[in-house]
């Protein structure tokens, strides 16, 4: 697949370093939530043709969709959720991996990443919010493409 077809529904241009800085400075959980919500706002609803059951990953309370494209030595990920909070968490994740190579994605430690941001445990990847299977899919795809 050529890069002409690469899709992108995430408008944030924050780098990983800027993200860490932002969360480092955030005072209290309300501010962290605000940042998450702001990131979520920049994850745009993709074309309806992508929001189909085949692209859904397992989540309990909210729906999460994901399409993975291979892009040279990394992965391009289009993901979306009907939950604002989950959209924000997906945004965090996209920032974390968009500077990573396939080999790095294949061993991505999501738990450590979320711990670095000092997020409440219920904001970390779980079966409930669907992030766990999103990450599992992503890692499997990376391993597959190496």
């Amino acid at each position: 697949m050529s890069n002409d077809h690469l899709m992108n529904n995430f408008e944030s241009t924050l780098s990983y370093a800027e993200l860490l800085d932002l969360f480092e400075k955030a005072k209290g959980w309300e501010e962290k939530y605000r940042q998450i919500m702001l990131l979520g706002k920049q994850l745009k609803r993709p074309d309806g043709s992508l929001l189909i059951e085949a692209n859904q990953v397992e989540g309990c309370e909210s729906q999460v969709w994901m399409v993975i494209q291979k892009q040279e030595n990394t992965l391009n990920i289009i993901a979306y959720s009907d939950s604002k909070i989950v959209r924000g968490l997906v945004g965090l994740l996209l920032i974390a991996i968009r500077e990573l190579k396939l080999e790095e994605i294949a061993v991505f430690d999501a738990e450590a990443f979320f711990q670095t941001l000092k997020l409440e445990s219920h904001l970390s990847p779980s079966r409930t919010n669907g992030l766990k299977s999103l990450i599992d899919h992503m890692i499997a795809a990376a391993k597959n493409e190496i």
């Binding site: 309300e30 605000r34 919500m37 702001l38 309990c60 309370e61 939950s83 604002k84 909070i85």
Partner: protein, 408 residues
Amino acid sequence: MVSNEVLLEYQAQFPFLNQSIDKPIVYLDSAATTQKPKCVIDALNQHLLNFTANVHRGGHRLGREATAQFEAARIAVQGFINAKHAHEIIWTSGTTESINQLANILSGQIQPGDTIVTSILEHHANFVPWQQMAQRQNANFCVVPLDESQTTVCMKSFRQMLEKQPKIVALSHVSNALGTIHEIKTLCQLAKNAGAFVIVDGAQAIGHLPIDVQALGCDFYTFSGHKMYAPDGIGVLYGREDLLEALPPWQFGGEMVKRVSVEETTFNQLPYKFEAGTPNISAVIGLHTAIDFLTQFDQSQRLTHEQQLLHAMYDGLLEIDGICLLSPRENNVGVLSFTVEDEHHADIAMMLDQFDIAVRAGHHCAMPLMGALGTSGSTRASIGLYNTKEDIDYFIQSLNKTIRLLTV
């Protein structure tokens, strides 16, 4: 409001509420499962410490003592729901098992073309077993729709469906998603007059309302212990003696037999015929304690307390912009389901969790109802006898903050 003293009496019995002084959780998810009072936890403990033994398998005093307590619990349940006989009380693992097993053994009564009636307000546990039974037996599966209030069954449609002389009518006493108390006595009597087997799912009623199965006139009534302050893993199926006598057993093994040979098996009498395998003895004993716990309070006072909280919560929610209440204010056991304009029900719950408030979000195992209401889910706050006016105030205040936080 009930007096402070009474309230303290309710609360004092729940260790869970008193454990974490600095970060107490406001538990508004009692419709999913209730917290357990100390007496119930103690009863389980005492049983496991002193009387671990199998029941109805003699030989020693531990077994006799466990059996005596086990059968005393059956009599307590009989009294609690005013059944005519103790042997009309069958232990199951919960409401879901009760209904599924019942659907299995009632299959033999259903011919192709027969009609089975349930309602759009049912929990999946009282919907899918009948739907699947109808598919297996080529029967008509008729689902009573909502009435204009959008909170209870449409009586007019129900009467029309009864004209088809359904073989089975399965309805809930109280809707788990909305909290609505249905007009179950009238519904039962109409269904009985039409000649149906009448099954009532009482899972959401048992912890709140006085139940009298004889007055209701249903054939079967079922509920789960874990929604009435008792341990998990235990449920009850009440069935009318003559029907239980006539129906075949649903599971085989253990002490439910009279005699087993290679050629044939004959079955034990009621209630044992329906109780194959080692029962959940400790939970049965815990359920007995939960009944004693509930009946120690003045019932009307307890219900008044829950109603006052419900009304305070309802009125508080009404004042919030963008809230759409799905539950009725009256004829409600204490469950409020709502949606918030532009917000996902899961986001509301996740944010409330951040405020140390436990509510539930989703379809509440009532997808057909959610479909009829045109929503994919709701947030649900539900009341137990341990909740207080402060809980409600804090919930309303936190919900306001939640909505602000979600709309950056």
